[in-house]
Symmetry: C2
Subunit: 241 residues, 2 copies
Protein backbone atom coordinates (compact mmCIF):
# COMPACT_ATOMS: atom_id res chain seq x y z
CA UNK A 1 0.00 0.00 0.00
CA UNK A 2 1.39 3.39 -0.98
CA UNK A 3 2.07 6.09 1.59
CA UNK A 4 -0.68 8.71 1.41
CA UNK A 5 1.95 11.46 1.61
CA UNK A 6 3.34 10.25 -1.74
CA UNK A 7 0.02 11.21 -3.36
CA UNK A 8 0.84 14.66 -4.87
CA UNK A 9 -2.59 16.20 -4.29
CA UNK A 10 -2.72 15.04 -0.67
CA UNK A 11 0.86 16.15 -0.15
CA UNK A 12 0.25 19.70 -1.38
CA UNK A 13 -2.88 20.06 0.75
CA UNK A 14 -0.98 18.75 3.78
CA UNK A 15 1.84 21.23 3.20
CA UNK A 16 -0.69 24.07 2.96
CA UNK A 17 -2.15 22.98 6.28
CA UNK A 18 1.30 22.79 7.85
CA UNK A 19 2.33 26.22 6.57
CA UNK A 20 -0.60 27.81 8.39
CA UNK A 21 -0.14 28.31 12.09
CA UNK A 22 -2.26 25.49 13.39
CA UNK A 23 -3.39 23.20 16.17
CA UNK A 24 -0.06 21.39 16.32
CA UNK A 25 1.87 24.63 16.66
CA UNK A 26 -0.26 25.93 19.52
CA UNK A 27 -0.69 22.73 21.48
CA UNK A 28 1.36 19.73 20.50
CA UNK A 29 4.64 21.40 19.67
CA UNK A 30 4.99 23.55 22.85
CA UNK A 31 4.09 20.50 24.93
CA UNK A 32 6.72 18.39 23.20
CA UNK A 33 9.32 21.17 23.59
CA UNK A 34 8.59 21.29 27.32
CA UNK A 35 9.30 17.55 27.54
CA UNK A 36 12.57 17.54 25.58
CA UNK A 37 15.42 16.06 27.60
CA UNK A 38 18.81 17.83 27.49
CA UNK A 39 20.07 17.24 23.93
CA UNK A 40 23.69 18.38 24.32
CA UNK A 41 25.93 15.66 22.91
CA UNK A 42 23.05 13.23 22.44
CA UNK A 43 22.04 11.49 19.23
CA UNK A 44 18.43 11.83 18.11
CA UNK A 45 16.29 9.51 16.02
CA UNK A 46 13.13 11.15 14.65
CA UNK A 47 10.50 8.50 13.89
CA UNK A 48 8.20 9.57 11.06
CA UNK A 49 10.15 12.81 10.61
CA UNK A 50 8.11 14.08 7.64
CA UNK A 51 10.00 16.93 6.01
CA UNK A 52 12.38 17.22 8.96
CA UNK A 53 10.71 20.26 10.51
CA UNK A 54 12.57 19.87 13.83
CA UNK A 55 15.99 18.66 12.61
CA UNK A 56 17.66 22.10 12.71
CA UNK A 57 16.14 22.92 16.08
CA UNK A 58 17.47 19.68 17.63
CA UNK A 59 20.96 20.43 16.25
CA UNK A 60 20.82 23.99 17.57
CA UNK A 61 20.01 22.54 20.99
CA UNK A 62 23.31 20.64 20.86
CA UNK A 63 22.46 17.19 19.53
CA UNK A 64 25.51 15.26 18.34
CA UNK A 65 23.56 13.88 15.38
CA UNK A 66 20.05 13.66 13.96
CA UNK A 67 18.61 10.88 11.85
CA UNK A 68 15.13 11.39 10.45
CA UNK A 69 13.28 8.38 9.08
CA UNK A 70 10.00 8.34 7.19
CA UNK A 71 8.29 5.83 4.94
CA UNK A 72 7.43 8.51 2.38
CA UNK A 73 10.24 9.09 -0.13
CA UNK A 74 8.49 12.30 -1.13
CA UNK A 75 8.81 13.63 2.43
CA UNK A 76 12.45 12.55 2.76
CA UNK A 77 13.26 14.26 -0.55
CA UNK A 78 11.73 17.48 0.73
CA UNK A 79 13.54 17.10 4.07
CA UNK A 80 16.90 16.70 2.31
CA UNK A 81 16.29 19.88 0.30
CA UNK A 82 14.80 22.07 3.00
CA UNK A 83 16.24 20.92 6.32
CA UNK A 84 19.79 19.79 5.61
CA UNK A 85 22.83 20.59 7.76
CA UNK A 86 25.92 19.19 9.46
CA UNK A 87 25.08 16.11 11.52
CA UNK A 88 21.65 15.78 9.91
CA UNK A 89 20.74 12.75 7.85
CA UNK A 90 17.54 11.23 6.49
CA UNK A 91 16.51 7.81 5.39
CA UNK A 92 13.41 6.36 3.75
CA UNK A 93 12.48 3.71 6.28
CA UNK A 94 9.21 2.37 7.58
CA UNK A 95 8.79 2.33 11.37
CA UNK A 96 8.12 -1.39 11.00
CA UNK A 97 11.72 -1.84 9.85
CA UNK A 98 13.50 -0.13 12.74
CA UNK A 99 15.35 -3.37 13.45
CA UNK A 100 17.44 -2.81 10.30
CA UNK A 101 19.14 0.18 11.99
CA UNK A 102 22.44 -0.83 13.56
CA UNK A 103 23.17 2.42 15.43
CA UNK A 104 22.20 3.22 19.01
CA UNK A 105 20.43 6.51 19.86
CA UNK A 106 20.08 8.52 23.07
CA UNK A 107 16.71 10.02 22.22
CA UNK A 108 13.86 8.60 20.14
CA UNK A 109 11.42 11.35 19.16
CA UNK A 110 8.12 10.99 17.34
CA UNK A 111 5.48 13.58 16.65
CA UNK A 112 1.90 12.49 15.82
CA UNK A 113 2.78 9.23 14.11
CA UNK A 114 2.21 6.40 16.59
CA UNK A 115 -1.58 6.35 16.16
CA UNK A 116 -0.95 5.18 12.58
CA UNK A 117 1.03 2.16 13.80
CA UNK A 118 -0.85 -1.12 14.10
CA UNK A 119 1.57 -3.11 16.25
CA UNK A 120 2.52 -0.77 19.11
CA UNK A 121 4.24 -3.49 21.15
CA UNK A 122 6.53 -4.46 18.28
CA UNK A 123 7.35 -0.79 17.71
CA UNK A 124 8.25 -0.31 21.39
CA UNK A 125 10.40 -3.46 21.40
CA UNK A 126 12.33 -2.11 18.41
CA UNK A 127 12.74 1.33 19.97
CA UNK A 128 13.94 -0.24 23.22
CA UNK A 129 16.56 -2.20 21.26
CA UNK A 130 18.09 0.87 19.57
CA UNK A 131 18.08 3.15 22.66
CA UNK A 132 21.14 3.58 24.87
CA UNK A 133 20.85 2.87 28.62
CA UNK A 134 18.68 5.58 30.20
CA UNK A 135 17.71 6.58 26.66
CA UNK A 136 14.54 8.65 26.33
CA UNK A 137 11.47 8.00 24.23
CA UNK A 138 9.40 11.14 23.68
CA UNK A 139 6.28 10.84 21.54
CA UNK A 140 2.94 12.46 20.86
CA UNK A 141 -0.16 11.00 19.31
CA UNK A 142 -3.82 11.87 18.84
CA UNK A 143 -5.47 11.54 22.23
CA UNK A 144 -7.32 8.22 22.67
CA UNK A 145 -10.55 10.21 23.20
CA UNK A 146 -10.24 11.32 19.56
CA UNK A 147 -9.18 8.01 18.05
CA UNK A 148 -11.97 6.10 19.84
CA UNK A 149 -15.04 6.84 17.68
CA UNK A 150 -15.49 5.19 14.29
CA UNK A 151 -15.33 7.39 11.21
CA UNK A 152 -14.49 10.70 12.87
CA UNK A 153 -13.12 12.12 16.08
CA UNK A 154 -16.31 12.57 18.14
CA UNK A 155 -18.54 15.64 18.31
CA UNK A 156 -19.33 18.62 20.49
CA UNK A 157 -22.75 19.38 21.89
CA UNK A 158 -22.46 22.69 23.69
CA UNK A 159 -19.72 22.33 26.26
CA UNK A 160 -19.94 18.56 26.09
CA UNK A 161 -17.73 16.34 24.00
CA UNK A 162 -19.14 12.99 22.87
CA UNK A 163 -17.19 9.92 21.81
CA UNK A 164 -17.96 6.24 21.35
CA UNK A 165 -16.15 2.88 21.32
CA UNK A 166 -13.32 3.94 23.61
CA UNK A 167 -13.10 0.46 25.12
CA UNK A 168 -12.89 -1.19 21.69
CA UNK A 169 -9.33 -1.06 20.40
CA UNK A 170 -8.16 -1.45 16.84
CA UNK A 171 -8.44 -0.13 13.32
CA UNK A 172 -10.32 3.09 12.50
CA UNK A 173 -10.90 4.54 9.05
CA UNK A 174 -11.30 8.23 8.56
CA UNK A 175 -11.07 10.75 5.76
CA UNK A 176 -8.56 13.54 5.48
CA UNK A 177 -8.69 15.65 2.31
CA UNK A 178 -10.92 12.94 0.81
CA UNK A 179 -8.15 10.36 1.29
CA UNK A 180 -8.83 7.34 3.44
CA UNK A 181 -6.62 7.46 6.51
CA UNK A 182 -6.27 4.41 8.74
CA UNK A 183 -5.37 4.81 12.37
CA UNK A 184 -5.36 2.51 15.39
CA UNK A 185 -7.20 3.23 18.60
CA UNK A 186 -5.57 2.21 21.86
CA UNK A 187 -6.88 3.00 25.32
CA UNK A 188 -4.72 5.07 27.63
CA UNK A 189 -4.34 2.09 29.96
CA UNK A 190 -3.06 -0.07 27.08
CA UNK A 191 -0.53 2.55 26.05
CA UNK A 192 0.78 2.72 29.62
CA UNK A 193 0.92 -1.06 29.97
CA UNK A 194 2.69 -1.53 26.63
CA UNK A 195 5.34 0.97 27.72
CA UNK A 196 5.79 -0.75 31.06
CA UNK A 197 5.92 -4.23 29.48
CA UNK A 198 8.48 -3.04 26.91
CA UNK A 199 10.89 -1.89 29.62
CA UNK A 200 10.05 1.81 29.83
CA UNK A 201 9.29 3.93 32.89
CA UNK A 202 6.78 6.66 32.12
CA UNK A 203 8.24 9.86 33.44
CA UNK A 204 5.76 12.50 32.25
CA UNK A 205 2.34 12.55 30.54
CA UNK A 206 0.76 15.69 29.05
CA UNK A 207 -2.74 16.43 27.78
CA UNK A 208 -1.97 19.93 26.50
CA UNK A 209 -4.17 22.86 27.55
CA UNK A 210 -4.26 26.00 25.34
CA UNK A 211 -3.08 29.36 26.64
CA UNK A 212 -5.65 32.14 27.02
CA UNK A 213 -3.82 34.43 24.59
CA UNK A 214 -3.70 31.68 21.96
CA UNK A 215 -7.45 31.08 22.28
CA UNK A 216 -8.06 34.78 21.60
CA UNK A 217 -6.08 34.41 18.36
CA UNK A 218 -7.45 31.03 17.32
CA UNK A 219 -10.83 30.41 18.91
CA UNK A 220 -11.04 26.74 17.90
CA UNK A 221 -8.51 26.04 20.62
CA UNK A 222 -11.29 26.59 23.16
CA UNK A 223 -12.29 22.97 22.60
CA UNK A 224 -9.10 21.91 24.27
CA UNK A 225 -10.32 23.51 27.49
CA UNK A 226 -12.94 20.72 27.46
CA UNK A 227 -11.04 17.71 26.14
CA UNK A 228 -7.45 17.19 25.02
CA UNK A 229 -6.61 16.69 21.34
CA UNK A 230 -3.14 15.33 21.95
CA UNK A 231 -1.35 12.97 24.28
CA UNK A 232 2.39 13.44 24.89
CA UNK A 233 4.47 10.90 26.80
CA UNK A 234 8.08 10.86 27.94
CA UNK A 235 9.48 7.47 28.98
CA UNK A 236 12.90 6.33 30.12
CA UNK A 237 14.50 3.02 29.16
CA UNK A 238 15.03 0.84 32.20
CA UNK A 239 18.51 -0.70 32.32
CA UNK A 240 17.12 -4.19 32.68
CA UNK A 241 13.57 -5.19 31.87
CA UNK B 1 -46.60 -1.58 59.40
CA UNK B 2 -46.06 -1.31 55.66
CA UNK B 3 -43.02 -2.81 54.02
CA UNK B 4 -40.37 -0.17 53.47
CA UNK B 5 -39.81 -1.48 49.94
CA UNK B 6 -43.37 -0.41 49.22
CA UNK B 7 -42.24 3.18 49.53
CA UNK B 8 -41.45 4.07 45.91
CA UNK B 9 -38.82 6.66 46.74
CA UNK B 10 -36.94 4.32 49.09
CA UNK B 11 -37.21 1.45 46.66
CA UNK B 12 -35.73 3.36 43.77
CA UNK B 13 -32.85 4.53 45.96
CA UNK B 14 -32.31 0.99 47.14
CA UNK B 15 -32.21 -0.29 43.57
CA UNK B 16 -29.78 2.46 42.66
CA UNK B 17 -27.56 1.36 45.51
CA UNK B 18 -27.82 -2.26 44.41
CA UNK B 19 -26.86 -1.36 40.89
CA UNK B 20 -23.87 0.60 42.20
CA UNK B 21 -22.94 -2.41 44.28
CA UNK B 22 -23.16 -4.65 41.24
CA UNK B 23 -21.03 -2.28 39.24
CA UNK B 24 -18.17 -2.51 41.73
CA UNK B 25 -18.65 -6.24 42.02
CA UNK B 26 -18.53 -6.89 38.30
CA UNK B 27 -15.91 -4.38 37.26
CA UNK B 28 -13.82 -2.75 39.94
CA UNK B 29 -13.33 -5.67 42.28
CA UNK B 30 -12.22 -8.28 39.70
CA UNK B 31 -9.84 -5.70 38.21
CA UNK B 32 -8.33 -4.97 41.61
CA UNK B 33 -8.04 -8.69 42.38
CA UNK B 34 -6.14 -9.19 39.11
CA UNK B 35 -3.67 -6.50 40.17
CA UNK B 36 -3.01 -7.79 43.71
CA UNK B 37 0.67 -8.45 44.31
CA UNK B 38 1.64 -11.66 46.17
CA UNK B 39 0.42 -11.08 49.73
CA UNK B 40 2.19 -13.98 51.47
CA UNK B 41 3.98 -12.59 54.52
CA UNK B 42 3.27 -8.98 53.56
CA UNK B 43 1.57 -6.36 55.69
CA UNK B 44 -1.40 -4.54 54.17
CA UNK B 45 -2.76 -1.06 54.87
CA UNK B 46 -6.30 -0.51 53.55
CA UNK B 47 -6.92 3.21 53.02
CA UNK B 48 -10.60 4.09 53.47
CA UNK B 49 -11.43 0.50 54.36
CA UNK B 50 -15.16 1.12 55.03
CA UNK B 51 -16.59 -1.91 56.85
CA UNK B 52 -13.48 -3.98 56.06
CA UNK B 53 -15.03 -5.97 53.22
CA UNK B 54 -11.65 -7.29 51.99
CA UNK B 55 -9.82 -7.82 55.31
CA UNK B 56 -10.56 -11.55 55.56
CA UNK B 57 -9.75 -12.14 51.93
CA UNK B 58 -6.31 -10.46 52.29
CA UNK B 59 -5.55 -12.60 55.36
CA UNK B 60 -6.64 -15.77 53.54
CA UNK B 61 -4.20 -14.84 50.77
CA UNK B 62 -1.39 -14.95 53.35
CA UNK B 63 -0.96 -11.36 54.55
CA UNK B 64 1.05 -11.11 57.76
CA UNK B 65 -1.23 -8.34 59.00
CA UNK B 66 -4.04 -6.05 57.91
CA UNK B 67 -4.77 -2.56 59.16
CA UNK B 68 -7.92 -0.88 57.89
CA UNK B 69 -8.30 2.84 58.40
CA UNK B 70 -11.37 4.97 57.76
CA UNK B 71 -12.48 8.40 58.89
CA UNK B 72 -15.97 7.14 59.73
CA UNK B 73 -16.23 5.71 63.25
CA UNK B 74 -19.54 4.18 62.21
CA UNK B 75 -17.81 2.19 59.47
CA UNK B 76 -14.93 1.13 61.72
CA UNK B 77 -17.44 -0.05 64.33
CA UNK B 78 -19.18 -2.15 61.70
CA UNK B 79 -15.82 -3.48 60.47
CA UNK B 80 -14.79 -4.54 63.98
CA UNK B 81 -18.06 -6.43 64.40
CA UNK B 82 -18.35 -8.01 60.97
CA UNK B 83 -14.82 -8.53 59.70
CA UNK B 84 -12.63 -9.28 62.70
CA UNK B 85 -9.94 -11.96 62.85
CA UNK B 86 -6.36 -12.77 63.81
CA UNK B 87 -3.94 -10.20 62.39
CA UNK B 88 -6.76 -7.81 61.51
CA UNK B 89 -7.03 -4.39 63.13
CA UNK B 90 -8.95 -1.20 62.43
CA UNK B 91 -8.46 2.42 63.31
CA UNK B 92 -10.53 5.57 62.90
CA UNK B 93 -8.10 7.72 60.95
CA UNK B 94 -8.47 10.26 58.19
CA UNK B 95 -6.31 9.73 55.09
CA UNK B 96 -5.00 13.24 55.71
CA UNK B 97 -3.41 11.97 58.97
CA UNK B 98 -1.45 9.05 57.54
CA UNK B 99 1.74 10.63 58.86
CA UNK B 100 0.69 9.74 62.42
CA UNK B 101 1.17 6.02 61.60
CA UNK B 102 4.59 4.83 62.73
CA UNK B 103 4.52 1.36 61.11
CA UNK B 104 5.81 0.46 57.65
CA UNK B 105 3.62 -1.53 55.24
CA UNK B 106 4.40 -3.67 52.21
CA UNK B 107 1.13 -3.00 50.40
CA UNK B 108 -1.09 0.09 50.45
CA UNK B 109 -4.54 -0.71 49.07
CA UNK B 110 -7.40 1.67 48.42
CA UNK B 111 -10.72 1.02 46.71
CA UNK B 112 -12.76 3.94 45.31
CA UNK B 113 -11.62 6.56 47.80
CA UNK B 114 -8.90 8.69 46.17
CA UNK B 115 -11.35 10.78 44.10
CA UNK B 116 -12.65 12.17 47.42
CA UNK B 117 -9.18 13.40 48.40
CA UNK B 118 -8.36 17.03 47.67
CA UNK B 119 -4.57 16.97 48.01
CA UNK B 120 -3.43 13.96 46.00
CA UNK B 121 0.27 14.90 46.12
CA UNK B 122 0.26 15.12 49.92
CA UNK B 123 -1.53 11.76 50.10
CA UNK B 124 1.07 10.13 47.83
CA UNK B 125 3.95 11.62 49.84
CA UNK B 126 2.48 10.13 53.00
CA UNK B 127 1.92 6.74 51.38
CA UNK B 128 5.49 6.75 50.05
CA UNK B 129 6.78 7.42 53.57
CA UNK B 130 5.02 4.42 55.15
CA UNK B 131 5.77 1.90 52.37
CA UNK B 132 8.71 -0.50 52.55
CA UNK B 133 11.26 -0.55 49.70
CA UNK B 134 9.60 -1.99 46.60
CA UNK B 135 6.30 -1.56 48.43
CA UNK B 136 3.19 -1.59 46.25
CA UNK B 137 0.43 0.98 46.02
CA UNK B 138 -2.74 -0.42 44.45
CA UNK B 139 -5.73 1.87 44.15
CA UNK B 140 -8.92 2.39 42.21
CA UNK B 141 -10.95 5.54 41.70
CA UNK B 142 -13.80 6.79 39.56
CA UNK B 143 -12.43 7.23 36.05
CA UNK B 144 -11.51 10.86 35.24
CA UNK B 145 -14.05 10.77 32.38
CA UNK B 146 -16.77 10.43 35.06
CA UNK B 147 -15.39 12.95 37.55
CA UNK B 148 -14.89 15.62 34.84
CA UNK B 149 -18.40 17.04 34.35
CA UNK B 150 -19.95 19.33 36.94
CA UNK B 151 -22.93 18.05 38.91
CA UNK B 152 -23.13 14.53 37.48
CA UNK B 153 -21.03 11.98 35.66
CA UNK B 154 -21.79 12.82 32.01
CA UNK B 155 -24.57 11.40 29.84
CA UNK B 156 -25.17 8.89 27.08
CA UNK B 157 -26.66 9.73 23.72
CA UNK B 158 -27.08 6.46 21.87
CA UNK B 159 -23.66 4.82 21.75
CA UNK B 160 -21.95 8.10 22.54
CA UNK B 161 -20.85 9.23 25.96
CA UNK B 162 -20.64 12.98 26.60
CA UNK B 163 -18.61 14.74 29.26
CA UNK B 164 -17.43 18.29 29.87
CA UNK B 165 -14.68 20.15 31.75
CA UNK B 166 -12.14 17.33 31.62
CA UNK B 167 -9.27 19.79 31.35
CA UNK B 168 -10.46 21.75 34.38
CA UNK B 169 -9.31 20.07 37.57
CA UNK B 170 -10.68 20.53 41.06
CA UNK B 171 -13.75 20.31 43.22
CA UNK B 172 -17.03 18.79 42.00
CA UNK B 173 -20.27 18.59 43.92
CA UNK B 174 -22.76 15.83 43.31
CA UNK B 175 -25.73 14.29 45.08
CA UNK B 176 -26.13 10.75 46.36
CA UNK B 177 -29.46 10.00 48.05
CA UNK B 178 -29.98 13.77 48.44
CA UNK B 179 -26.67 14.05 50.31
CA UNK B 180 -24.08 16.42 48.87
CA UNK B 181 -20.95 14.51 47.90
CA UNK B 182 -17.73 16.38 47.10
CA UNK B 183 -15.12 14.82 44.86
CA UNK B 184 -12.03 16.10 43.09
CA UNK B 185 -11.42 15.78 39.39
CA UNK B 186 -7.89 15.10 38.20
CA UNK B 187 -6.87 14.43 34.61
CA UNK B 188 -5.23 11.10 33.84
CA UNK B 189 -2.01 12.89 32.96
CA UNK B 190 -1.97 14.62 36.37
CA UNK B 191 -2.53 11.35 38.20
CA UNK B 192 0.41 9.80 36.32
CA UNK B 193 2.66 12.78 36.94
CA UNK B 194 1.82 12.95 40.65
CA UNK B 195 2.73 9.27 41.00
CA UNK B 196 6.00 9.78 39.14
CA UNK B 197 6.87 12.92 41.12
CA UNK B 198 6.12 11.15 44.40
CA UNK B 199 8.62 8.39 43.67
CA UNK B 200 6.37 5.69 42.21
CA UNK B 201 6.77 3.69 39.02
CA UNK B 202 3.41 2.89 37.44
CA UNK B 203 3.43 -0.79 36.71
CA UNK B 204 -0.11 -1.45 35.49
CA UNK B 205 -3.19 0.63 34.59
CA UNK B 206 -6.65 -0.85 34.04
CA UNK B 207 -9.86 0.61 32.61
CA UNK B 208 -12.03 -2.44 33.32
CA UNK B 209 -14.15 -3.94 30.53
CA UNK B 210 -17.21 -6.04 31.45
CA UNK B 211 -17.44 -9.70 30.50
CA UNK B 212 -20.11 -10.77 28.00
CA UNK B 213 -21.80 -13.11 30.50
CA UNK B 214 -21.99 -10.35 33.11
CA UNK B 215 -23.61 -7.97 30.61
CA UNK B 216 -26.30 -10.60 29.94
CA UNK B 217 -27.03 -10.63 33.66
CA UNK B 218 -26.78 -6.90 34.26
CA UNK B 219 -27.37 -4.94 31.09
CA UNK B 220 -26.24 -1.59 32.48
CA UNK B 221 -22.67 -2.88 32.24
CA UNK B 222 -22.95 -2.43 28.48
CA UNK B 223 -22.01 1.20 29.02
CA UNK B 224 -18.57 0.08 30.05
CA UNK B 225 -18.05 -1.27 26.56
CA UNK B 226 -18.15 2.40 25.49
CA UNK B 227 -16.35 4.19 28.32
CA UNK B 228 -14.72 2.98 31.53
CA UNK B 229 -16.31 3.73 34.91
CA UNK B 230 -13.21 2.93 36.94
CA UNK B 231 -9.49 3.49 36.84
CA UNK B 232 -7.20 1.05 38.65
CA UNK B 233 -3.48 1.68 39.08
CA UNK B 234 -0.66 -0.39 40.52
CA UNK B 235 2.56 1.47 41.30
CA UNK B 236 5.85 0.40 42.86
CA UNK B 237 7.86 2.54 45.27
CA UNK B 238 11.23 3.43 43.79
CA UNK B 239 14.11 2.84 46.20
CA UNK B 240 15.35 6.39 45.79
CA UNK B 241 13.29 9.24 44.41
Amino acid sequence: MGNVFDNPSFFSKYMELRSDYNYNDYLEHPAMESLLPPLKGRSVLDLGCGYGAYAMSFMRKGSSSYLGIDSSSHMIEKARTENAGAGISYRVLDLKSLDTLSTVFDVAYSSLVFHYIEDFDALLRNIYAILSDDGVLLFSQMHPLLTASYGYSGYFEGDYFAFSSYQEEGRREGRWFKEKVVSYHRRLSSIMNSLSDSGFIVDRVLEPIPREEDIREFSQLERDLVRPTFLCIRAIKKKSK
